[in-house]
Amino acid sequence: MFFTQLKKLAGLFWFIFSLSAFDARAAETSSLNIHGFGTLGLARSSSSDVGFIRNLSQPKGIQDGEWSGRIDTILGVQAHWQITSDLTAVGQVVSRYKYDDTRDPTVDLAFVKWEPDDRFSLRVGRIGSDVMMLADSRLVGYSYLTVRPSVDFFGSLFFSSFDGGDGSFTLPLGGGLIRSKIFAGRLHEKAPDDPSLWDTSGSRLYGAVVDYFSGPWQFRISSSQLRYSSDVDFKALTGILYGISDATGITDARDAADAFVTKDTNSHYYSLGTVYDQGPVHIEAAAIKIYHETATFQDSRSGYLLAGYRINAVTPYIGISRWTTDDENLQTGLPDELVLPSGTLDFKPLNDRFQGIMSTLSADQTTTTLGIRWDVRPKVALKAQWDSVYAYDDSKFPYASASDTDWNGRTDVISLSMDFIF
């Protein structure tokens, strides 16, 4: 099935390239420009226990040492219409492996931008999420050094854009530039929730970002909040807990079930980041702390450091990243055996199942990355990358198909890609 999809994608690549080659000259002088980006990626993960994914929007990962183009292959096409000198319309369609196990193209961006002068801009429509530094361009492989953005840092971000608006204001300050931005809107995407989908559309997202640019440096601080519109489907578990609580009067079981409510709870994102980009040297680092009001997700901290040095057209790079979650230590509150006058109730299978689910919500791992980017042409880059993942504990949250496995916490991921723009 995947191979068939890949063939279709190759056909789409051919069509788009033909279109762009034909239209390129005309587009330069027209107010309507068609551009695109893409990644042809192959990767293999050494683990046979868990599916390595790019982020939580992907329902199936790669595993068993099999080479696959599933997680990294992306194609995007953008139409950019300069309506007037201060009014722009942008539409962007992207085909990538996503929550519904397909590559069906989706509208990733669709907004109107009003920019009355260079200090202020306002965008309304479907906009890229800017929750983390570089998050709104993480589908554009050509724009960064690595094959994919750090999974430890960006992996928990299951949405790529939202419907709403943002406004930014830029001013010179202290020899540099300070740019502040606020944004608000609602999510429109779903997330995989094996075996079904978690519909997050309508979830409210808002936040603020401050960037400071000074010479080769960029510094960023951001804060945002996401309020979920629906529950993750834990009904099979929580229904049993509610029933037992009602039957036995053990309120801890009800409390445990309540902790999995997601609807109308908030996740809070606090992020810092910096980029140093001077001549052949490129260094970037970022950290994020996420607090969740629901037990469905564990509070997490993650960060990464990436450094590259360009030698002519080749840029070797090295990175390290870490992702940890805080153990909720949530229990059902039920004894393994409850002795009643009418007999004994055996809750041990339920308690074990509950702990099994809790274990799939943890992340505690470090990834070391080595790679090389070769800019073979001004708009084409080839990359090769090795990621070595070391999980210190039961780190299953960052992976697909991890619920019933005894993973030893180690996997090596080898990746090859060709990134391009047109």
């Binding site: 063939k7 183009g69 953008q78 950019h80 361009s137 724009s143 001549g279 052949p280 723009i421």
Partner: protein, 177 residues
């Protein structure tokens, strides 16, 4: 060499049984598709560079009636990297790039931020495909830049010093930086 022959040879080389032979074919097909797609994409996306004499005396020009007297290197960086294009005189600068087919563009960005064209393209791809801002307009030649700057008070462009005419003024040169 046809596909069947390649598959046959590789299958024999793998020493595959019936089931793993199918697996090999799948892998080979994937590799073949990937390789072909890569070659195809490189061929389609790439364009040959037109050789032009390197400009060893590059200057930044503005319209002679723009009111711009001088720009600092920091201002030029902000303008050409799309960070901030508002000028002290109150107007918004409209930077013009030479086409990537010229050597002058590569020289300009090397002098300005010590970046090659691939890095500049990568930088702009991040901004363009996140819908943040737009890159400078493109001109195919020095004459086109002179024409665009000469007819637009907000336009800026880089050319060799010898090409400067009476319609434009030099607002930045690397000896200043």
């Amino acid at each position: 060499m046809n596909t069947r022959l390649i598959d046959t040879i590789l299958g024999r080389t793998c020493g595959c049984d019936f089931h793993s032979f199918g697996f090999c074919i799948l892998i080979i097909n994937k590799i073949r598709l990937f390789s072909c797609s890569m070659l195809l994409a490189i061929w389609l996306v790439s364009s040959p560079a037109l050789a032009e004499p390197a400009l060893d005396d590059l200057v930044l020009i503005a319209n002679a009636k723009s009111g711009i007297e001088h720009l600092t290197k920091r201002e030029v960086v902000n303008i050409y990297l799309g960070r901030y294009r508002r000028l002290d005189i109150g107007s918004s600068a409209e930077p013009i790039d030479l086409s990537s087919k010229t050597d002058a563009k590569a020289l300009f960005y090397r002098l300005l931020v010590d970046k090659n064209l691939a890095e500049i393209n990568a930088y702009w791809s991040r901004l363009v495909f996140s819908g943040k801002t737009r890159p400078p307009q493109q001109a195919d030649s020095v004459d086109e830049i002179l024409d665009m700057v000469g007819h637009n008070r907000n336009a800026l462009g880089y050319i060799d010093r010898a090409s400067v005419n009476s319609q434009v003024v030099i607002v930045f040169e690397w000896s200043d930086s």
